[in-house]
Amino acid sequence: MDLAALIDCLSSASCVVTQASTGLIVGALLFLVAAGLTLIFGVLGVINFAHGSFYMLGAYFALSAYRLSANFALSVVVAGLGVGLFGLLLERLFMRRVYNADVLMQLLVCYAFILILDDVVKIVWGPNFQSMGMPEAFQAPPLLIGGGVVPIFYLYLMAAAGLIALLLWVILSKTRMGKIVRAAAHNPSMTSALGLNTSLIYAGVFAFGGMLAGLAGGLAAPVRSMSPGMGFSILIESFIVTVIGGMGSVSGALVGALLIGLIRSFGSIGFPLFVEGTMFFAMAVILIVKPSGLLGKAAR
């Protein structure tokens, strides 16, 4: 524990800016992953424990696409679409069969895919750490804000995540498709009685959630080193985010993700070994005080 260091940091503008920008990009990536997770839970009632592996796949897809095309924006799109398609296949072939089964059975199927995908990545991309390197377009000198260093790429990443968040909000609350999805989340049997194909909606939401995780992986590729098993920690963190924000609530995921991002970046100065403990402590407090989460509706 080094709380003095934390207080030192908080009293210097440069350190606050640097840490806050780190926290915000961690939060932005976490939001994309957690939004998919919470959307899938809200509509399908299924916890996709393999969601971290989707993030990993997204990062590796982006890596390969970037090596082939040298175009970062294209690589991120490839990552999103690729993982979305993979999610669709996974849902149609496997997840669909365990919707009505015990939550443990769902856990087991997802766990199997975590194991399988980690090894598939090992076979295809190799077991070692890999990195994409910063794309040329972002190799500009970092911005100095109040003495703190903010890499250009961070701004791009935040803008991209913000845009995706905005799109997500527009789709869910303003379009007919969003209305159908919300209806399916609220009352699946009534939705299906109205002649809408809920099975298809489920597949679409699962694929869409996967796509968000894939996009996050792709966006994270330049600033994260990649290795098989990289999905584990982000999975755990996005669980914490969804629980804190409220399971099924996308806006809750945003609040939770930013909170966890900031805890991570400032905590790593003040109490580096206890960052994880702090996050779980926050989650436990929320669960005890308000199990449905900060912005969640009461448990169904």
Partner: protein, 321 residues
């Protein structure tokens, strides 16, 4: 169930326990293979962990994602009291069980009020919190290096646990006694009350049962038996490691009960044996451990749709009809 049939079922279980114990204790006379003895010790530890988790999952309908906190807690309490206080083995065992029970009581009192997935996540949170404490409190626990330096094993009752054969015998006795106790508890009126709470908590409440007290009791008992498993594990590796209370350990325990089955009492032990054997076999034959294990798990989950013993149990029930 009438009192007489309950008594006869207890007698039958006791007989089975004695037969199993006899057979297990005969193994060192048949083979001197360290591999076989080591496997027995690991199975004793994981069997206790998985079966105690099944008290919650199978009989109580409480899916805990954090059960390994008691496994790790028991291991650390046991190893630390031997290392730091110079306690005897029985004293350290007692301390470890009490420690697990107290943690179980504190955590359980908060957790059992929550339902379904919220219960699962809260147990996960507490487990990771404990794991973080173990990592952070380096002076006591050794941090991420684990509690190293070996643990002293003062002889007691003519047993010297530094001897692998004695350790094997001790682990077998602990496991069989633990399993027998759990079986007796689950077949008692308390065990049937727990099943009723699982099936219909409202009905149980209307009948005047304090539901949360039943759940909490089950939680504390399960914690104790998981701690017992942790004690065996601490003796086996001669120390304690943070991984013991990491979420992957809880995941493995869930894995074991799902593979073995949750409706047959001995299912989790079978699951533990299957998973240990599978892990060893896969590690020997391929470097792609996860790929093969994942495919086997998929086969279980989508093929059998239930654990091995549940599958066999249903086959057996069909035959009877």
């Amino acid at each position: 169930m009438s009192a007489a049939s309950a008594r006869s079922s207890l007698g039958r279980d006791t007989l089975w326990a004695l037969i199993a114990l006899g057979a297990l204790l005969a193994v060192p006379y048949l083979t001197s293979s360290r591999i076989a003895l080591d496997f027995g010790i690991r199975l004793a530890a994981y069997g206790l962990l998985a079966t105690s988790l099944n008290i919650l999952v199978g009989y109580g309908g409480m899916v805990s994602f954090g059960h390994a906190m008691f496994f790790g807690g028991g291991a650390y309490a046991f190893a630390l009291s031997l290392q730091k206080t110079g306690a005897s083995i029985p004293q350290a065992l007692l301390i470890a069980l009490c420690f697990s029970a107290v943690i179980g009581l504190l955590v359980g009192a908060v957790c059992v009020r929550l339902k379904e997935i919220y219960f699962s996540f809260l147990t996960l949170a507490f487990q990771m919190f404990l794991h973080s404490i173990i990592l952070t409190w380096t002076t006591l626990t050794g941090g991420d290096q684990g509690l190293t330096g070996g643990i002293p094993r003062p002889p007691f009752l003519g047993l010297n646990l530094a001897d692998p054969v004695h350790l094997y015998g001790f682990a077998c006795v602990m496991a069989v006694v633990g399993l027998w106790l759990m079986r007796a508890i689950l077949q008692s009126p308390f065990g049937y009350t727990l099943r009723m709470v699982r099936d219909n908590a409202d009905r149980a409440r209307f009948l005047g049962i304090a539901v949360w007290r039943v759940k909490l009791s089950a939680f504390v008992l399960a914690a104790c038996f998981a701690g017992m498993g942790g004690v065996i594990m601490a003796l086996f590796v001669s120390g304690a490691f943070p991984d013991f209370s990491y979420w992957t350990m809880s995941g493995e325990a869930i894995f074991m009960i799902m593979m073995g089955g949750i409706q047959v009492f001995i299912g989790p032990v079978v699951g533990a044996a299957v998973l240990l054997l599978l892990n060893d076999a896969i590690s020997r034959t391929t470097e792609y451990h996860g790929l093969v294990l994942g495919l086997v798990v998929l086969l279980f989950a989508l093929g059998f749709k239930r654990g091995l013993m549940d599958f066999l149990g249903q086959l057996w029930a069909k035959q009877q009809r």
